[in-house]
């Protein structure tokens, strides 16, 4: 098992809850402002825009691999930060929420990266957010926002369960 300091796991749990709450707020605002309330209606659009889905195979409760889980969690957070960066300036109502969410996702990724560095388990190269998404319409940007908010919550749900397992009793 990975010798994870208790305070690190507790901080990650808090950050996961914090980001989760902000993702929920973003989703609620997208629903209220643009009536984008059903992410399940955007699957086809997501395929066409090749919105990446972030697997957390190392974090599954059946086969939890702490080092791999932390790496995937950190890489996923970096990816979501990139997706959120593409949504900056989406609209005056949403910008504050997207800006805060982007900062909190980035800080969460840094918390994990620095811990991996301290443990010597960090990958040689820092993961990057990948190419910035571009949109051909305001609708696309709003729809991607709804997808990101929804997927980020599922991602964090998985991460939270794994972190709780790592925290131990």
């Amino acid at each position: 098992p990975l010798p994870l300091p208790r305070s690190f796991v507790l901080k990650c749990l808090e950050q996961a809850r914090r980001v989760q709450a902000e993702a929920v707020e973003m989703q609620q605002k997208l629903c209220a402002t643009y009536r984008l309330c059903h992410p399940e209606e955007l699957t086809l659009l997501g395929h066409s825009l090749s919105i990446p889905w972030v697997p957390l195979k190392g974090c599954s409760s059946q086969d939890l691999q702490p080092t791999r889980c932390l790496r995937q969690l950190q890489a996923g957070l970096v990816l979501y930060r990139g997706l959120l960066r593409a949504l900056v300036g989406i609209s005056p109502e949403l910008s504050p929420t997207v800006d805060t969410l982007q900062l909190d996702v980035a800080d969460f990724a840094t918390t994990i990266w620095q811990q991996m560095e301290d443990l010597g388990t960090a990958p040689a190269v820092q993961p990057t957010p990948g190419t910035m998404l571009t949109f051909t319409s305001a609708f696309q940007r709003q729809a991607v926002g709804a997808m990101v908010a929804s997927q980020l919550q599922c991602f964090l749900e998985l991460a939270y369960r794994a972190l709780r397992y790592l925290r131990g009793p």
């Binding site: 643009y34 984008l36 209606e41 086809l44 659009l45």
Partner: protein
């Protein structure tokens, strides 16, 4: 690449006007289903059998729809693909409906000597349901405002406000200027009637300050039916010739105001006689720029004096 795309006659229209839109689903997106069914929603309402759907040589599908009357001021028109029995949203168009701006009315301006700015206000007219920008426009002029001298910078009111304040540095005092309001939204523009005024002729005066005056010491016995008072014009207007009116009434129920003929502002003392002895009187004063044009100040707060 874009899966589906709505093109629409206009995003902003008059309330009740028709809307025509088409949704084109690209071949790459509809390849899964040779006859993909395109569906429309207006807000949350599914528009059953309302779109005319055609296939195009390039393999894309296009559905066209016409809504005879758009009756909500803000809604969304959504284009869906029925994709293996799940509605997939391809594109949505935000729609606004409202009215072109009515002519702004009751434009009036007052020169504020404290902030040294010309403050104008107006009636915006009925709600247009659309984002509508109001701008106070003006230019310097002369005489009876038939000529346009230098333009003056547009005055943009704070959001939702129907007033605007033109700062001193944009004003040419003691000369006429032309002022009007422009209202503009996506459906049109309208202008208020123009005002022709010299800012100094619309000065908003504050009332003078009334004070008791001790009776003339040489007088042996102050007459019982008189009161002595003095006043100071409102400080920022001290350089202006003014005339002032004094009114007074006894502190008795249903007593009505009596008024003294206008007093030139140069005299700042007054002896008011012909009053009831041993009675408390309320006195008020107001002033107006005079003989040059101006607006009356409001009446000053009451000064209460008692005859002996």
């Amino acid at each position: 690449e874009n899966c589906g795309h709505i093109s629409i006659s206009a995003h902003v229209m008059r309330l009740g006007d028709p809307v025509t839109a088409s949704c084109t689903v690209t071949q790459s997106c509809s390849h899964l289903d040779p006859e993909p069914q395109i569906l429309w929603k207006l807000g949350a309402e599914l528009l059953q059998h309302r779109g005319r759907q055609q296939s195009h040589p390039d393999g894309s599908q296009k559905s066209t729809i016409t809504l005879p009357h758009l009756n909500s001021t803000h809604t969304f028109l959504l284009c869906y693909l029925n994709w293996s029995n799940s509605l997939q949203l391809l594109d949505q168009a935000e729609l606004w409906a409202g009215y072109p701006p009515a002519m702004p009315s009751n434009l009036s301006c007052l020169m504020n000597l404290t902030s040294n700015s010309l403050i104008c206000q107006w009636e915006p007219g009925p709600d247009t349901h659309l984002p509508t920008n109001f701008t106070l426009k003006s230019f310097k002029s002369r005489g009876d405002c038939q000529t346009q001298e230098d333009p003056i910078k547009d005055c943009v009111p704070a959001a939702g406000q129907s007033s605007c304040s033109i700062p001193r540095k944009h004003l040419l005092l003691y000369q006429n200027m032309v002022i009007w309001v422009q209202a503009e939204n996506a459906l049109g523009t309208s202008l208020s009637p123009q005002l022709c005024l010299d800012p100094m002729d619309v000065v908003k005066l504050e009332p003078p300050t009334l004070m008791a005056l001790d009776p003339n010491p040489e007088m042996a016995l102050p007459q019982p039916d008189c009161l002595w008072l003095r006043w100071e014009p409102w400080k920022p207007s001290i350089y202006m010739d003014q005339k002032c009116e004094l009114r007074y009434r006894p502190q008795l129920r249903e007593a009505s105001w009596a008024q003294v003929a206008p007093l030139p502002s140069s005299t700042t003392r007054y002896e008011l006689c012909g009053l009831r002895p041993a009675t408390t009187y309320a006195l008020q004063m107001r002033c107006i720029r005079w003989p040059l044009p101006g607006h009356w100040s409001t009446w000053s707060p009451s000064l209460e004096l008692q005859t002996t």
